[in-house]
């Protein structure tokens, strides 16, 4: 069976499910971020697949490029927060950093 739109969408849905599971279960902030990266990749894969099989232009590619740019910005800020968190609390466990709650 030749690989069509549905195949790519299925791979993307699998990636999204894995990323969602990582975001829900991981307690290490860096691992949490990896789950977010998986979800972002799943979304861009959808955009590119639709650009190839439905739209035909490069608009989907451009959205995917913007996703990559924003992922880079997000990773830089999030990892800076993780380092600041580690310096101030001595842990990267997202469950134990809850001072605002108390």
């Amino acid at each position: 069976m030749t690989a069509g739109l549905e195949h790519y969408l299925t791979v993307s849905a699998l990636l999204f499910g894995l990323g969602l599971y990582a975001v829900l279960t991981r307690r290490n902030a860096v691992a949490l971020l990896m789950g977010v990266e998986l979800i972002l990749n799943a979304a861009s894969l959808n955009f590119v697949a639709f650009a190839r099989f439905v739209d035909g232009g490069v608009d989907g590619h451009i959205v995917a490029i913007f996703v990559i740019v924003l992922a880079a910005a997000e990773a830089a800020v999030a990892l800076a927060i993780v380092l600041a968190m580690f310096r101030n609390f001595g842990t990267v466990n997202v469950d134990s950093v809850n001072r605002l709650k108390r």
């Binding site: 069976m1 030749t2 690989a3 739109l5 549905e6 195949h7 969408l9 299925t10 791979v11 849905a13 699998l14 990636l15 999204f16 894995l18 969602l20 599971y21 829900l24 279960t25 307690r27 860096v30 691992a31 971020l33 990896m34 990266e37 998986l38 990749n41 861009s44 894969l45 590119v48 650009a51 190839r52 439905v54 490069v58 608009d59 590619h61 451009i62 995917a64 490029i65 913007f66 990559i68 924003l70 992922a71 880079a72 910005a73 997000e74 830089a76 800020v77 990892l79 800076a80 993780v82 380092l83 600041a84 580690f86 609390f89 001595g90 842990t91 990267v92 466990n93 469950d95 001072r99």
Partner: protein
């Protein structure tokens, strides 16, 4: 067909290594699995005729973001006793939720009649992407550069070491360096 074999290879690489990213207890192993996931997605982009995007994914994600992640892993390494443990109490509901999300999306994928067009051989996209970025998408393009600048300056301020005491601005505003001190 050879192309399909390549597709299934990259899809398998992506999903399997994505599974290891999620399942691995060792954060370093997860980071290196993420490398293969991102590479697999780059391969899928290439299969979809998105040549420029495949290269961008490889350079920015694997060469940039992943290195950043590995650095963060190295700098926040904690002794094993304090390693974050994953409780079964949240793994089971999370697995059910993730499976439900996947099932829902899969039902939509299979149940929808997508308006597909005939796909020919993929063409080079670099020129078209460049033209679009400079014409129709020029404002998002400029905003993206602003966002990147602001994010990187913010990140640098956030992880700056505490300023020396003789800095008058710092004495006036101890919280001005953006750090949260306990």
């Amino acid at each position: 067909m050879g192309g399909d074999l390549v597709f299934y290879g990259f899809a398998l690489l992506t999903v399997l290594s994505g599974f290891f990213v999620v399942a691995s207890r060792n954060i370093v192993h997860a980071a290196f699995s993420l490398l293969f996931t991102l590479f697999g997605v780059a391969g899928l982009y290439a299969q979809l005729g998105a040549d420029f995007l495949a290269v961008t994914q490889t350079i920015v994600y694997i060469g940039g973001i992943l290195v950043l992640v590995v650095f963060a892993v190295m700098m926040t390494r904690i002794p094993r006793a304090d390693a974050p443990r994953r409780g079964l109490d949240r793994a089971v509901p999370a697995a059910i939720l993730a499976l439900l999300a996947f099932a829902l999306i899969y039902m939509v994928i299979v149940g929808t009649r997508w308006p597909q067009r005939a796909t020919g051989a993929p063409e080079a996209t670099v020129a078209e992407i460049g033209t679009s970025l400079m014409t129709r998408f020029v404002f998002p393009f400029e905003y993206a550069s602003l966002v990147l600048l602001a994010a990187l300056v913010g990140a640098a301020i956030l992880i700056r070491e505490r300023a020396p005491q003789d800095d008058p601005a710092d004495a006036d505003d101890p919280a001005g360096n953006g750090e949260v001190r306990s």
